[in-house]
């Protein structure tokens, strides 16, 4: 059974961080397990946490009247889940539902923000890491907006 610092050190998501930064953030982390269907994050709630998925899948979804819940993205092994903890007003945008059993490393948002404020170097590196993830997801989302598989131009 790995310790939290070992899990954080091994997570591919944190590879860009320097070892001492990984140790710093490990102090805000704990192990979590979620069962199938559990709501890891809920839309509208305070964004207290973010997760790195160790194993399993998480569906990001939102409720559309008449359609029901619509999944806008699924996240999988190694993915970051949640970044609303980084930006005021720190509110979760989408529901995050466990699909099957999900193991995560959960980070306390306030703890992390505190460490970033105290060590801007850590804050900058963490921000760059999250920005890279956001960029990739934004591009993917914009491409899906084109509805290329639809009957129109594609």
């Amino acid at each position: 059974m790995q310790t939290i610092p070992e899990l954080v050190a091994d997570a591919p998501a944190f590879a860009p961080l320097a070892p001492e930064h990984r140790d710093q953030i490990a102090g805000c982390a704990r192990n979590r397990v979620f069962q199938d269907g559990a709501m890891i994050l809920r839309e509208g709630e305070p964004a207290d946490t973010f997760h790195v998925i160790r194993t399993g899948a998480v569906a990001l979804e939102t409720h559309v009247p008449r359609r029901g819940a619509v999944i806008v993205e699924t996240l999988h092994d190694g993915d970051l889940l949640g970044w609303s903890w980084l930006v005021s007003p720190y509110r979760v945008a989408f529901d995050g539902r466990a699909v099957g059993t999900v193991h995560t490393i959960e980070f306390d948002g306030a703890c992390l923000r505190g460490k970033c404020d105290a060590d801007p170097g850590l804050g900058y590196d963490l921000l760059k890491l999250v920005a890279a993830v956001m960029l990739e997801r934004l591009q993917g989302t914009r491409m899906r907006l084109l509805d290329l598989y639809g009957k129109g131009l594609g």
Binding site: K151, G152, L153, G154
Partner: protein, 376 residues
């Protein structure tokens, strides 16, 4: 068979032109020659030399065509009008097949044997170019091949160039060196006659049926002068140096926007161009859905429809369509068929209502070649 000049060439009088037409008709050909129609020169089926444009020449410039009288009674003293041989070899509309019910469909193959009289070197080259398009690969355009297979060509060596001609730039004239059965050079030094070159055995056989005499030195000299006169009087030039890479390396050149602001997408250039081959098919059925037929119909890359696939057209702007036409004609045609698609006949310049000139467009791009934009 090499064209014969000098001591093997013959001379015929103007009166022999009717004998020539007669001899071709006797051999089962429908003779097609230039005639004046609608203030232009068109190709039409003729039965006598009286129908030829005797005493006419043309004045051509960008967006301008005028027929003007000559005072020497020349039969072929003009250049080319808006028509070309594709009207007969690759007609604007031909039936492809007709079917009844779900039975196997049968091709219609009904066409006359044509003898073309008065064909210029540029147009002969255009025929050779369309040969490569329609017959040069595994799939043969059968209607074209059938019309083409039996065609007889009597070329005319130009004695003057037209106002928009640039065959010398394209290596397609002014002299036809081959691709004909017979070639005539009209000599007009007061003794109106024609030097005749033989280009094939069929041509020799037809010539033997006409009254002719051996050509003399004077005849050969006059013929050479006619060619030199034509070569020296070209209305346009096109620098073809590295033209394929020049155009394909300048696909985002601002000149395309400039020409697009003038181009009306009227498709005239593609209609008059002797090598343009784009076509579409029209499928029809009777009301009961029992009889179906398909026609092959001329099309143009300038139409929005041309590049339409479900949802929209790939070339949605006039800019991209003009660029397609010109880069295809002068550049990618070389990749596809090994030669330029342009024979320098000048028709696209003459018949463009806004006088767009591909020689000018090419020169403009060459002058500000964006491939060397960093070299200054």
């Amino acid at each position: 068979m090499q064209a014969t000049t000098g001591s093997d060439a013959r001379v015929i009088d103007p009166s022999a032109i009717d004998a020539l037409i007669g001899a071709l008709r006797d051999r089962g050909y429908s003779v097609v020659g230039p005639v004046v129609r609608s203030q232009s020169i068109v190709y039409a089926e003729i039965e006598s030399s009286a129908e030829l444009p005797r005493g006419w020449r043309d004045e051509q410039e960008g967006g301008t065509f005028r027929l003007v009288r000559r005072d020497d009674g020349a039969l072929f003293g003009h250049n080319v009008g808006h028509d070309s041989l594709k009207r007969f070899l690759f007609p604007p509309r031909v039936p492809v097949w007709h079917g009844r019910g779900e039975d196997p469909l049968e091709p219609d193959q009904d066409h006359p044997r044509y003898a073309f009289l008065g064909v210029r070197s540029c147009d002969l080259h255009a025929v050779a170019i369309q040969d490569r398009v329609f017959m040069g690969s595994h799939y043969v355009e059968r209607d074209y091949a059938a019309r083409r297979d039996d065609a007889f060509f009597v070329a005319v060596q130009c004695g003057q160039a037209g106002g928009t001609c640039f065959c010398t730039s394209m290596g397609t004239g002014p002299r036809a060196e081959g691709g004909f059965d017979l070639a005539l050079t009209e000599l007009l030094d007061g003794q109106h006659r024609f030097l005749v070159e033989v280009g094939s055995e069929r041509g020799a056989e037809v010539l033997a049926a006409l009254p002719s005499r051996v050509a003399g030195d004077r005849d050969g000299d006059l013929a050479r002068e006619a060619t030199e006169r034509a070569a020296a009087s070209m209305g346009r030039t096109l620098d073809t140096t590295d033209i394929r890479d020049l155009l394909m390396g300048n696909l985002e050149h601002p000149r395309w926007d400039d020409v697009a602001s003038r181009c009306l997408s009227c498709t005239n250039c593609t209609l008059v161009c002797p090598t343009c081959f784009c076509h579409t098919v029209e499928d029809r059925t009777d009301l009961a859905g029992q009889e179906t037929d398909r026609d092959r119909v001329w099309d143009s890359c300038f139409s929005l429809d041309h590049s339409y696939i479900h949802g929209g057209s790939v070339r949605g702007t006039g800019r991209s369509r003009y660029r397609q036409w010109m880069t295809h004609k002068l550049a990618t045609w070389i990749d596809q068929f090994g030669t330029s698609g342009c024979v320098g006949c000048g028709r696209c310049i003459t018949w463009c209502p806004v006088a767009i000139d591909i020689t000018e467009e090419t020169a403009a791009i060459r002058a500000t070649d964006m491939r060397h934009a960093d070299d200054s």
